[in-house]
């Protein structure tokens, strides 16, 4: 439109690789073919790369053992009898499952219970024991992840405690709600439908937002480069891109609530009633669904409380230590389905995974992290939906125990 606009250079013409280079501000250190790996290498650091390599070796050995050709078969097939699960399992399989879920948990603050329970059942753990034991392991993994995040300055203890108060009360209410509503028939059905819809919309919104951020930030950078190169008149556009959004009516309402509190790490000033109420709602939901507060908790902290993504993840892990400890303890005394050896083996993998995950999260930008989180939420939603829509392979099965919620 404007005649002053340089006609030859369009931001869209910049290839993604070039944008990445502009973003990093460095010359490529890896050969062109391997450049894709550069962010991974940077995010992990050398120690992390070594660990990742170890994990890959372990995977290769595992595959080798499955085929039966590896000389390491004996090491890999070391099995241990689990005293509560009443079953013998291969050590490598269990540690590997813990590791995989641990990375995800440390990175995104999502407890992983939702992935851990089906994963454990897949590798042959009886479903009752899977449900009881994974809360124990999540308490430990969250402790590991929270500790790593607190080193990175990502844990707002004050906010965590506020949310915790709400979610513990919410959990207690939720259990009673289940008792009352389950008498009313088809209650389970509606809870699931609502949950799927909720996860779908949360995940969808997150993905939409992060895609927009990706586009906007790469545009901004590209324009910045052009400005640096002498296209001064584009500065106006740059300022326009960074214009802050107007505050909504919702936020104005929140600022009028009593008990306004300053949460320094989170960088927000809000009524204590608000995060507490949020914890309450999520606590009720977790108790009813028997699954993850994390899926809803982290997005809520980011979008409703307006916290930085990393602090949301760290704070969520902190409060998760307590919520899942509570669930694990309840399981141990009512259902007797917590297996100590299974928990310890999972922990070995998961705690290491959580450390790597937390570090990975530290090296990623907020919007990249939100993309990953959004993708996970959508995947979980799709999993749940498939579970509901597809005909089960067998109509009859051993009934799982109720419980969970992390």
């Amino acid at each position: 439109m404007s005649s002053t606009r340089p006609p030859a250079i369009e931001t869209d013409e910049l290839t993604r690789d070039d944008q990445a280079l502009i973003q990093e501000g460095v010359a490529p250190t890896l050969p062109r073919g391997l450049r894709v790996l550069q962010p991974v290498a940077q995010a992990l650091g050398l120690g992390g790369v070594a660990l990742l390599a170890g994990a890959i070796v372990a995977l290769v050995v595992l595959v080798g053992a499955a085929v039966g050709t590896s000389p390491l078969t004996d090491v890999v097939t070391v099995a241990v009898y689990l005293p509560v699960a009443d079953k013998s399992m291969t050590v490598v399989t269990v540690v590997g499952a813990g590791f995989a879920v641990g990375i995800l948990s440390g990175m995104t603050g999502v407890g992983g219970g939702f992935l851990m329970t089906p994963l454990l059942m897949m590798i042959g753990v009886p479903s009752t024991v899977a449900v009881g034991t994974d809360s124990t392991q999540i308490a430990g993994t969250a402790a590991s992840g929270a500790q790593a995040h607190s080193r990175l300055g990502n844990v707002d203890v004050k906010l965590g405690v506020t949310i915790l108060v709400g979610s513990l009360i919410g959990g207690t209410i939720g259990v009673q709600v289940v008792r009352i509503l389950s008498a009313a028939g088809n209650f389970d059905f509606w809870v699931r439908v609502i949950y799927v819809l909720m996860l779908g919309s949360v995940g969808g919104l997150m993905l939409r937002e992060s895609v927009r951020t990706w586009i906007r930030s790469s545009r901004t950078r590209a324009i910045q480069t052009l400005v640096d190169e002498g296209f001064e008149d584009l500065k106006v556009k740059l300022v326009e891109e960074e214009k802050p959004k107007e505050e909504g009516t919702f936020r104005r309402f929140v600022t009028r609530l009593p008990l306004q509190t300053e949460y320094k790490k989170a960088g927000i000033r809000v009524s204590a009633l608000f995060p507490c109420g949020m914890g309450l709602g999520i606590g009720v939901l977790a108790a009813i669904m028997g699954v993850g507060g994390g899926f809803i908790m982290v997005p809520s902290m980011i979008y409703v409380l307006g916290m930085p993504t990393h602090v949301a993840v760290g704070t969520d892990l902190f409060q998760m230590v307590f919520t899942s400890s509570n669930v694990a303890f309840q399981q141990a005394i009512t259902n007797h389905n917590v297996d100590i050896l299974l928990a310890v083996l999972l922990m070995v993998g998961a705690a290491v995974g959580a450390q790597i995950g937390a570090r990975l999260s530290g090296r990623l930008e907020g919007h990249q992290l939100r993309t990953i989180l959004g993708v996970i939420v959508v995947i979980v939603m799709v999993m749940l939906l498939f579970d509901l829509l597809l005909e089960p392979s067998s109509l009859f099965g051993v009934a799982p125990v109720s419980g969970g919620g992390h």
């Binding site: 005293p83 013998s88 430990g140 402790a143 059905f189 230590v321 303890f329 007797h336 570090r359 009934a399």
Partner: protein, 280 residues
């Protein structure tokens, strides 16, 4: 007075026992089971139990190994509102043995009549077991309707067959051992030698149900039962496995607290040991 009665009872019991044993010995020799106690320690990953005996002249053998009775909570999935699959019914299946294996020297159909099969608990597809088991409502313990019971009990039987805990004998003689599971390496076909001695082994899976297993051998000649012998063996936890397993049951609060403490301390320890930053 009581002492006298008690004293008199001792020789009487002994006498009874002796006559009973000799009577059994006439019908068929004693069974030998090895090991008599299967110990589950940390390294347990399944075990073979060897069972041996002697067949009377010209008789065939039918062997039944049955695990402890168990009760299992089952669920049934169904379509809700014509769209979504959900649990529509639950039931507690009671008095169902968690392990049941049958072996024989000839196909059982050719040895025993249908009536005899049911009486000895070796009928095709374990249908006698299905009749003995009961499915009840898990909330109030009231029995379900006849059809529902059959549905649930049959589903559990099929699950056990898939897991190698049940072997319908028909499988071996009709499909051959290769088609069957691994619960009996010899394929459930018992071959006595010229003197009538036989030996077979069963493989207990790594998640073998705990408790007392009964072993019954029936000897059959010309469609008539000519002898029987029985024994038992135990599957039990020992050492650390036993200590932890019973602690989880008997001292649950302490156990729960211990497991949590270990998990959290481990999580934090690994965190502290872990290098502070990627080294660069």
């Amino acid at each position: 007075m009581r002492v006298v009665v008690a004293l008199a009872a001792i020789p009487l019991t002994a006498l009874l026992a002796v006559t009973w044993t000799t009577a059994r010995a006439d019908e068929g020799s004693e069974l030998v089971v090895s090991p008599e106690t299967v110990e589950i320690g940390l390294g347990f990953s399944g075990a073979d139990v060897t069972i041996g005996g002697t067949t009377p002249e010209g008789a065939d053998i039918v062997l039944v190994v049955e695990g402890p009775l168990d009760s299992v909570k089952m669920r049934k999935m169904g379509k809700v509102m014509g769209l979504l699959w959900m649990t529509v019914e639950q039931a507690e299946v009671e008095d169902m043995p968690a392990f049941h294996i049958v072996g024989s020297s000839e196909p059982i159909e050719s040895l025993l009549s249908r009536e005899q099969q049911v009486r000895l608990g070796v009928s095709p597809e374990s249908s006698d077991i299905l009749d003995r088991a009961e499915a009840v409502d898990p909330d109030d313990g009231s029995p379900l309707s006849e059809e529902e019971q059959t549905e649930f009990v049959t589903a559990l039987r099929d699950k056990y067959i898939r897991e190698g805990r049940y072997t319908p004998w028909r499988c071996y003689h009709e499909a051959g051992a290769a088609e069957c599971d691994t619960a009996t390496p010899s394929g459930g076909i018992i071959r006595p030698d010229d003197d009538g001695h036989w030996e077979t082994s069963i493989s207990l899976p790594s998640d073998a149900p705990l408790g007392e297993y009964s072993v019954e051998a029936y000897y059959v000649r010309d469609g008539q039962e000519v002898g029987a012998a029985s024994t038992t063996f135990n599957v039990e936890k020992v050492g650390v496995v036993d200590a932890l397993g019973s602690m989880a049951e008997d001292r649950a609060p302490l156990y729960g607290a211990m497991v949590l403490a270990i998990a959290i301390v481990m999580g934090l320890t690994i965190g502290f040991v872990f290098p502070r930053r990627g080294s660069h």
